[in-house]
């Protein structure tokens, strides 16, 4: 350390400043207590709190001034600066082991969880899927979509209304709802994708609201705020309810097992896990395909793309439809897991949350998005004990992440190419 004295004075000044700030902020809140019609003065409480803040800030500054603290700070800010790096030609051995381990864990885990944790995990997986889908649109193609929840709703209502009017089961509705969502994406995309940036964001925001309002107000068809019920999935005609509702045989009767309500959730989780794994694989491959490469090129520079013969409208449309399709699949799973849906599940807040997942994960990074989706859905559940502070802590965590990791949790690594490695 070069100048211990200056570090000490700086820490003291920092502490003093924080103390004054704490006093200003906390003084009126904790120092003046309303008692009937009178205000009681309890100034010792904010003073104590401010003193605690001062001590804390002083110690924090001192810790940062040491050699170790500085190197830690340097590492953090240096990492924050760099956004993208190029990966080594061959991934390290530890990473190659990670994939089969994760797959095995995902397959075994649901059998040991309580129903509550299973539902949390299913919801987390649905958000992973949504994050991966929106990542195609926002992270790869660079199209800001604020109404992504619309395609989620289309998927969910595709299952619920399909079963109500056309007697479709889960497995028929899954591809049909995905195609329906993609068609909606194409329908919305074709006229609006000539715009970019903020204009596109506003149009998609409007679209998201339109879908929700239609679902809410078209009472005869969608059931409006009363919602619609969605069928649970079946395994080759075997149902997971206590008594067969759709004309099949219950799963537990067929295998002569004790009835357990968890079976349904375990089954949903396993299908969802397979879909998410497949999606992760496909997104990874998409990035190395001409399609994914043109998406990323379009995000980088649209004019340059046009000069290279890339039709920017169809490329954007393909990204939009692909994203919508994934959203639709997630919607089907959401409907089947809840068994009942209504329009309140598809508010703008959902769109914002999915966007937060994509941004926090690092635009374009698959691993980052999976992590962010897990964190952002499991963390609020874990924080239920903190009741009303839950959202506050959630917000603080987001702000901190944006300060230290402005480019997302995981740094994006680009694949490297060499001539020998291709053979």
């Amino acid at each position: 350390m070069a100048k211990p004295a200056s570090a000490l004075t700086k820490s003291l000044l920092d502490a003093l400043f924080s103390g004054v700030l704490a006093l200003v902020v906390l003084g009126p809140i904790s120092g003046l207590v309303l008692n009937g019609y009178q205000v009681r003065n309890e100034m010792q409480r904010p003073l104590l709190l401010a003193a605690a803040v001062m001590v804390g800030r002083f110690l924090f500054s001192l810790a940062l001034a040491t050699e170790r603290g500085r190197s830690l700070l340097g590492a953090l800010s240096a990492r924050a600066q760099q956004g993208v790096t190029v990966a080594e030609a061959s991934p390290p051995r530890s990473l190659r082991l990670a994939t089969p381990l994760l797959l095995a864990a995902g397959l075994i885990l649901p059998f040991f969880l309580s129903k509550y944790f299973l539902t949390v995990l299913i919801l987390a997986m649905i958000y992973v899927l949504l994050g991966l889908g929106l990542n195609i649109v926002v992270g790869l193609a660079g199209l800001l979509d604020l109404g992504y929840v619309a395609f989620y709703a289309v998927g969910a209502y595709g299952l619920a209304l399909g079963s109500q009017y056309l007697h479709l089961g889960f497995w028929t509705a899954l591809p049909l709802a995905a195609l329906l969502a993609a068609a909606c994406g194409g329908l919305l995309g074709f006229p609006v994708l000539r715009m970019h940036g903020d204009y596109l964001a506003i149009v998609t925001l409007g679209f998201g609201e339109i879908i929700r309002l239609v679902l809410n107000n078209w009472l005869d068809f969608t059931g409006g705020p009363n919602g619609a019920s969605a069928p649970p999935p079946t395994l080759f005609g075997l149902e997971f309810s206590r008594a067969a509702k759709y004309g099949g045989t219950p799963f537990h009767e067929y295998f002569h097992l004790e009835y357990n309500p968890n079976y349904k959730f375990i089954f949903i989780f396993l299908i969802l896990f397979a879909v998410v794994s497949l999606m992760v694989l496909f997104v990874g491959r998409l990035k190395q395909m001409p399609m994914g490469r043109t998406w990323e090129a379009l995000r980088e520079d649209e004019i340059a793309c046009r000069s290279l013969g890339i039709n920017h409208v169809t490329v954007k449309l393909s990204a939009f439809m692909m994203g919508a399709m994934v959203g639709g699949v997630a919607g089907v799973f959401f409907a089947t897991y809840q068994g009942f849906i209504n329009p309140t599940s598809f508010s703008f807040f959902e769109s914002a949350l999915i966007l937060a997942i994509v941004v926090l994960g690092g635009l374009g990074s698959t691993v980052g998005i999976v992590l962010a989706a897990l964190v952002l859905t499991i963390l609020p559940e874990m924080l239920r004990d903190f009741a009303e502070y839950r959202v506050l802590i959630f917000g603080v965590a987001m702000v901190l992440m944006m300060i230290w990791r402005p480019r997302g949790l995981i740094r994006i690594k680009r694949r490297s190419f060499d001539l020998e490695g291709l053979r």
Partner: protein, 295 residues
């Protein structure tokens, strides 16, 4: 210049006029570009050089005039493929209507690039957060197997086409002396290298005509010399016709066979570098009438 019907010029621009509202940026500009030549478009600032480029490469839709590219067996009208307004006469001619409708929906500057015209930009436009080789792979997308199903399943055909594309990229990187930077991010490269990469990327689209917008801007004298050799190599070995805008007169005079001089949106002189250099109209445009008279 007489038009030879058997060997027509690669590009012929006829009566190109471009108006932005009341401002006339280009007035009846006409010139031809011979196959296999290196031509330069020069003129004082604001003469309309970049506007000509943007019309040729489909970024602007010319108000009037025709641009014909004789790249393959058929000639392509670069104005029509941008998509034009419907005219009353179209509705009597279904074939014309269909073609207009097609270009209206799917036309645009990308069609010009597919017809065989590539370009670079005055302010470099690379895909900065992608690697150098990925920049070249994006440019080759018309030649790669683009079937999404075979890509997702990594079929043998897809892998072969990817391998071929990477090999072709490496071949171009060698030509431009960038092979060592193949796996660096394009945005990290030095300015001179970024300029070269942009030309390499344009070459990867397999163009017949490459339009370079101020390729020597911001380069030091040594880099400019290298660039001059590179442009000659492209023409001599890679069968491409070059059209460039340039302010570095040493480079223009040294490299080009044919020079077109623009001033206030009009062609004021055309010919070999030597004739243009001594043309009084050119001297007036660049140096002012008094100075030109004094010489």
């Amino acid at each position: 210049m007489s038009v030879d019907p058997i060997h027509p010029p690669l590009l012929s621009v006829q009566g190109l006029t471009m108006r932005f509202g009341g401002i006339v940026a280009l007035k009846e500009v006409s010139f031809d570009i011979r196959r296999g030549s290196i031509s330069a478009l020069i003129g004082p600032n604001g003469a309309g050089k970049t506007t000509v480029f943007n019309c040729l490469t489909g970024f602007y839709r010319a108000t009037e005039g025709a641009i014909a590219l004789h790249a393959g067996r058929r000639s392509v009208d670069l104005v029509r493929i941008l998509g034009e307004r419907f005219r009353p006469g179209d509705f009597a001619n279904p074939a014309l209507l269909a073609s207009r409708l097609y270009y209206k929906m799917f036309g645009g500057s990308h069609q010009v690039a597919r017809a065989g015209v590539a370009r670079t930009f005055q302010n470099i436009r690379l895909f900065r957060e992608m690697t150098v080789i990925e920049n070249l792979l994006v440019a080759q997308h018309m030649r790669i197997n683009r079937n999404p199903v075979s890509g997702l399943l990594r079929s043998a055909g897809f892998r072969a086409s990817e391998r071929e594309a990477v090999e072709r990229s490496y071949a171009w990187l060698k030509v431009f002396g960038l092979a060592a930077d193949a796996n660096r991010l394009a945005g990290e490269l030095s300015y001179g290298r970024q300029r070269r990469l942009e030309i390499a990327r344009a070459m990867c689209t397999g163009p017949r005509l490459i339009c370079l917008d101020e390729p020597a801007a911001g380069l030091n004298p040594q880099e400019t010399d290298e660039l001059r050799d590179l442009i000659r190599t492209l023409r001599d070995r890679h069968e491409v016709t070059v059209l460039l805008i340039e302010h570095d007169m040493g480079m223009v005079m040294g490299v080009s066979d044919h020079v077109v001089v623009l001033d206030h949106g009009e062609v004021i002189a055309e010919g070999t570098p030597h004739t243009v250099e001594n043309d009084p109209a050119v001297l007036t445009a660049y140096l002012g009438a008094d100075y030109a008279k004094g010489i």
